[in-house]
């Protein structure tokens, strides 16, 4: 087989067949489904959860993962934080002509491995090849299908004053790991992206019987933007404490150099949970039993219901309001 993806690989003919068989089908191991134009799925009765997300990452490979891993983690986490059980994924690939086949294999393999580890099946896929320059290497879209939990559902309607805000680990690892991997700004770090599917951990939290009001994954826009959205969507006054935020030293260092705020850096393997105060310890214990949750911490609480807003308590004890990220963060010298 050719060592690069060619336009002919996407024309539906012999080469396309070969690419699909050798790269995708072999990785996903679902010969049955691949014989039909649609996949047939069995779902328990009840509500179905569907989410879709497209993944464009530069670089495609970075410490702690690659675009294939993120394509699974991102979509699985979106289903999971909404309180549903992820079951199936579809994956669509848009590939730039000339893309190294070996890289494609690695990405597809990683996607398959992550899906299998997360316990979801890849049931449909698509590949398109675009002319050189028509895409930046490779893009992936994944759609996730799950079922809403019948038991242990999340109950946003019960959100109330005194509830705790918990984050499952350190803030900003993905954002800085990606930035360093780009190499443009000369940052060198051993930092790994946190990208990982969180559904098993989240399942255990919910099954513990803890009263979870709300969950979100703080991806683009970071912890601050995600919490502002929760505050506004549910009319909750949320207050978090700067000193309680778990942040790795390397992330702090990189932020100091570039003038970034870690609260606005992307995460790909973290969940923010709003839980009843009485269940705080139970949730922390469950989270900390998982490697991806061992740095879980209470970072704040809900101070009242009514007007939705997010406040940050500074180490000096004063409070300031946090807002959504305005445009992207740019490194600054002044």
């Amino acid at each position: 087989m050719e060592r690069k993806v060619t336009l002919a690989c996407g024309d539906g003919g012999e080469l396309a067949h070969k690419l699909i068989q050798q790269v995708f089908v072999s990785a996903f191991q679902n010969q049955d489904a691949s014989r039909f134009d649609s996949a047939f799925l069995s779902l328990e009765s009840g509500k179905i959860a569907v989410t879709t997300d497209s993944f464009v990452v530069n670089p495609l490979f970075f410490p702690g993962g690659n675009i294939g891993k993120i394509a699974v983690a991102g979509t699985v986490n979106d289903l999971s934080v909404a309180g549903s059980i992820p079951l199936y994924l579809t994956a669509g690939f848009i590939i730039e002509e000339g893309f190294p086949l070996e890289d494609l294999r690695k990405i597809v393999r990683s996607l398959a491995e992550e899906a299998s580890a997360a316990g979801v099946r890849i049931v449909a896929g698509d590949t398109k090849v675009v002319e050189k320059g028509g895409a930046d290497g490779l893009y992936i879209n994944t759609t996730g299908i799950g079922v809403q939990r019948a038991e242990h559902a999340i109950r946003p309607g019960e959100m109330q004053e005194g509830d705790d805000v918990i984050i499952s680990g350190t803030v900003g690892d993905h954002g800085i790991a990606i930035l360093a991997a780009r190499g443009e700004l000369g940052l060198m770090t051993d930092l790994q992206s946190d990208c990982t599917p969180l559904n098993h951990m989240i399942d255990k939290v919910l099954e513990s019987g803890a009263h979870v009001r709300m969950m979100r994954d703080p991806t683009r826009g970071g912890v601050a933007t995600t919490l502002v959205e929760i505050a506004e969507d549910f009319g909750a006054a949320i207050e978090i404490s700067e000193t309680a935020l778990p942040i790795r030293n390397e992330v702090m260092g990189a932020c100091d150099i570039l003038g970034f705020d870690p609260l606005y850096l992307a995460n790909e393997g973290k969940v923010i949970l709003i839980v009843a105060r009485n269940d705080r310890q139970r949730v922390l214990d469950v989270l900390r039993a998982f490697p991806e949750g061992r740095n879980a911490a209470v970072i704040g609480h809900i101070t009242g219901m009514g007007e939705g807003r997010l406040l940050l308590e500074t180490p000096l004890g004063s409070r300031r309001r946090l807002r959504r990220l305005s445009g992207m963060m740019l490194p600054r010298i002044c």
């Binding site: 150099i257 000096l316 300031r320 309001r321 445009g327 490194p331 600054r332 010298i333």
Partner: protein, 369 residues
């Protein structure tokens, strides 16, 4: 992290804040005046808001933001010219991230980039020289904004380009000097303050001695400060002590980093490659000898000489950035603030740069929706 390497007990900062308030209130009791200090460094503006010092001291000490953010003080016509220089084919414009969103009369560098212009963010100006070496068929222009901290680094880039004879590298310099603008604030603008919180990092290059004229000519005290809560609070504390005793002085509260004579290696290279020039400041007009431009001897690296860029006179807006950087108006007093002018749709540069007084106020101080 402060410029020392053991954790500072957060209790110390809290206690210092209490002492500052006590001292300030005592001063007000005696004189009837709320002490007002101006910070002339955008990083101070930002840090005072971010750490909550500004909020804690509200009503006790008036902290006025002065002309400290190089992007904010840059004249609109210069900004237009720097964007215009990016508009031609076969050019790569390199810039600090700070400049990307600054609105020109027509558009910003970010929107020029969106339209396919080659605009790149670099962390170090020396990276722009490397980019020029890697792209010999293109003209690479670095947009050199900054105060005295940055100018030596800009000079280092020109030195490198000269040494390696990188002919396709040039710099569009519009730099600003602290001393002339402090003098302008005190004479022409007649700002009503009791002292200056002096810029820690500019002072690295200039040294303590650079501020002696404040005492000699104006009896105006100043304290050089770092950027950590304890550093800023202790500097404000010292300013309060000075005005309480009425013994104007320049105090170096950042001794671990700022030497009396400054960094002479940096000064030397700065004046080897740059020479004083008249600079236009936003909202203040041209201040004689208040900036530095590439020395005539190195004009082959001066983008202003190399490229013929013509821009018209910018349209007047209601934006009060000019008053803001003189400490005459506060963001809330601008009719555009938070309404027509927001970080996503900035009208003036004070809203663009995260250390601009409007952006800092918008992000950290605004109370309404």
């Amino acid at each position: 992290m402060p410029a020392l390497f053991e954790p500072v007990d957060p209790g110390v900062a809290k206690e210092l804040a209490r002492k500052v308030i006590q001292l300030a209130d005592r001063y007000k009791e005696r004189t009837g005046i709320t002490p007002a200090f101006m910070e002339v460094c955008g990083s101070h503006t930002m840090a005072l808001a971010r750490t909550g010092i500004k909020q804690i001291l509200q009503g006790h000490v008036r902290l006025v933001s002065g002309p400290g953010c190089p992007v904010c003080v840059t004249d609109q016509k210069q900004i237009d010219a720097m964007i215009e220089v990016a508009e031609s084919e076969n050019r790569i414009v390199c810039t600090f991230g700070d400049m990307m969103r600054v609105p020109g009369s027509k558009r910003s560098l970010l929107s020029a980039k969106t339209d396919g212009r080659d605009v790149r963010i670099v962390y170090s100006p020396l990276d722009a020289v490397r980019i020029a070496e890697e792209n010999p068929d293109k003209e690479v222009i670095f947009l050199g904004v900054g105060f005295e901290t940055t100018v030596p680094v800009l000079a280092a880039a020109i030195q490198l380009a000269a040494k390696k004879n990188v002919g396709n590298f040039s710099m569009w310099a519009t730099t600003k000097l602290v001393q002339p603008v402090l003098r302008e604030l005190l004479t022409v603008k007649k700002v009503k303050i009791n002292g200056f919180l002096l810029p820690g990092h500019v002072s690295i290059v200039l040294g303590e001695k650079a501020y002696r004229f404040l005492i000699d000519e104006f009896r105006m005290p100043g304290v050089i400060s770092g950027f950590e809560p304890v550093e800023m609070l202790s500097a404000i504390y010292k300013l309060l002590e000075i005005i309480t005793d009425n013994r104007p002085a320049i105090v170096n509260n950042y001794k671990s980093v700022v030497r009396p004579e400054g960094n002479q290696a940096a000064q030397k290279i700065m004046y080897e490659f740059f020479e004083p020039c008249d600079e236009a400041w936003r909202g203040m007009g041209v201040i004689p000898q208040s900036g530095l431009d590439v020395r005539g001897k190195y004009s082959r690296f001066n983008a202003k000489k190399k490229f013929n860029v013509e821009v018209g006179e910018p349209k007047k807006t209601l934006c009060r950035c000019g008053d803001m950087i003189c400490g005459i108006a506060s963001p809330e007093e601008c009719i555009l603030f938070g309404k027509a002018c927001t970080p996503l749709h900035p009208i003036g540069p004070c809203m663009v740069s995260t250390e601009g007084s409007c952006a800092a106020h918008y992000a950290y101080m605004r109370k309404d929706g």
